[in-house]
Symmetry: C2
Subunit: 217 residues, 2 copies
DNA sequence: GCTATCTGCTACATCACTGTTGCGGATAAA
DNA sequence: TTTATCCGCAACAGTGATGTAGCAGATAGC
């Protein structure tokens, strides 16, 4: 009985948020979690969940839509069409990593076709491709690189970085989005082999001011 | 009513194989597929599936165990402790990619703890780490590289490569395991930035004879 | 050919999850 | 204070999947 256009009362709006957060928490650890469990984790009755979301499917779709909306905004904030490619990549990556760590489930599987989330998803992918095209043009990527492979690898690195818990090296890299972004971009562009002097790293790029201390060389 | 120690009749053994293959096919596209659907895809009655596998859980675990067993064998075949690190990596990668493309579901999520599959999984990971340690020692990896990050990236690249359908560039890379392995290892070590002359690629390493034409420079 | 085994089929029992309804009490908003 | 809205609770219906049991016909293996 959700999706009514009427304005919600303040406490109801709070319930919706609490449910969404609890659902994310539960489903990210167990995608088969029950509405009952979600309700319990949110501290509300099961019927209240059904009051706000017509079905389990509707709940999941709402999560996906708002998560992808956040991602879209985060990418836009990096000015993907105007900022220098490397800068845009770094900034977008840092933003996205932060959001993705809070929406692990909602962003884990791509939304089913026909939903609003899919539209946003496609838009984000288009922006991603645009940045990569500009990077290729700027000589950051090897000519002839398969653009689909580049995007696949990039997205995979982001996912891995989100699940990358800190241990020995890169001590502060876990919670610092800029450090994670540097790790991702560096790995994407230069891999794990020993570095030879030559190309500029993100930090050396003019016009980018990052807090010092992230250079992991 | 499965897991009985008795020797199965030939036709029963065939049934088991057919069911496992059908289950892999179905579940890789829809992890929530029904026992009914699996049975139908295998061309047997639902009760027959239950006759061979006590429960859905048991079926999935059997799949995981045999899949990971194949992976383990494939890694061993690359002689991870004795072959030159780069050779071992390439060979193991090529072998694993082939197997993984046939066990997408069974190898998709790591097996639940306490199962036989977990034991094999851990053994494989140990071998993986060993190869990476040898690679680091041999100067293939940058000193100070977080070993967990290296493994994460490597495994992610394998997963992506399996799902990497062919289009424009790398035309034959889709079905040729050696080409895919080259793509994975090159991306892992050197990334996507323009290559500068210097380190040897896999194909240039003495002692490795690969079919020509995989150099994607 | 004989026998143990395997299979399809039908029927049944159970269970978990989903989704709905209605009511009385609480609470936000005016 | 008044009122519309929200919530917890209890009860119920429907659905779909899982797992079991027994029987009659087919088939592999000796």
């Amino acid at each position: 009985m959700a999706t009514t256009g009427r304005r919600l009362r303040a406490d109801a709006e709070r319930s919706v948020r609490t449910i969404l957060e609890a659902a994310e928490r539960l489903l990210s650890e167990n995608p088969g979690a029950t509405m009952e469990q979600i309700a319990e984790a949110a501290g509300v009755a099961r019927t209240t969940v059904h009051r706000r979301f017509a079905s389990r499917e509707a709940l999941v779709e709402t999560m996906a839509t708002s998560a992808w909306q956040e991602i879209d905004d985060a990418v836009d904030a990096a000015r993907p069409y105007t900022a220098p490619p490397l800068v845009a990549m770094h900034q977008a990556t840092a933003n996205v990593v932060q959001i993705k760590s809070g929406w692990r489930f909602a962003l884990g599987t791509l939304p089913p076709p026909g939903e609003e989330a899919t539209r946003i998803h496609d838009a984000v992918m288009a922006k991603c491709d645009a940045v990569f095209a500009r990077a290729l043009e700027a000589g950051l990527l090897r000519p002839g690189t398969d653009p689909r492979w580049a995007r696949q690898v990039y997205l995979a690195l982001i996912s891995e970085a989100v699940h990358h818990s800190p241990t020995t090296a890169q001590p502060q890299a876990a919670d610092d989005p800029d450090a994670l972004a540097t790790l991702i971009i560096d790995t994407l562009l230069y891999g794990l082999a020993p570095r030879r002097p030559g190309p500029p790293a993100v930090q050396d790029t003019p016009g980018v001011d990052l807090p010092a201390g992230h250079d992991r060389s």
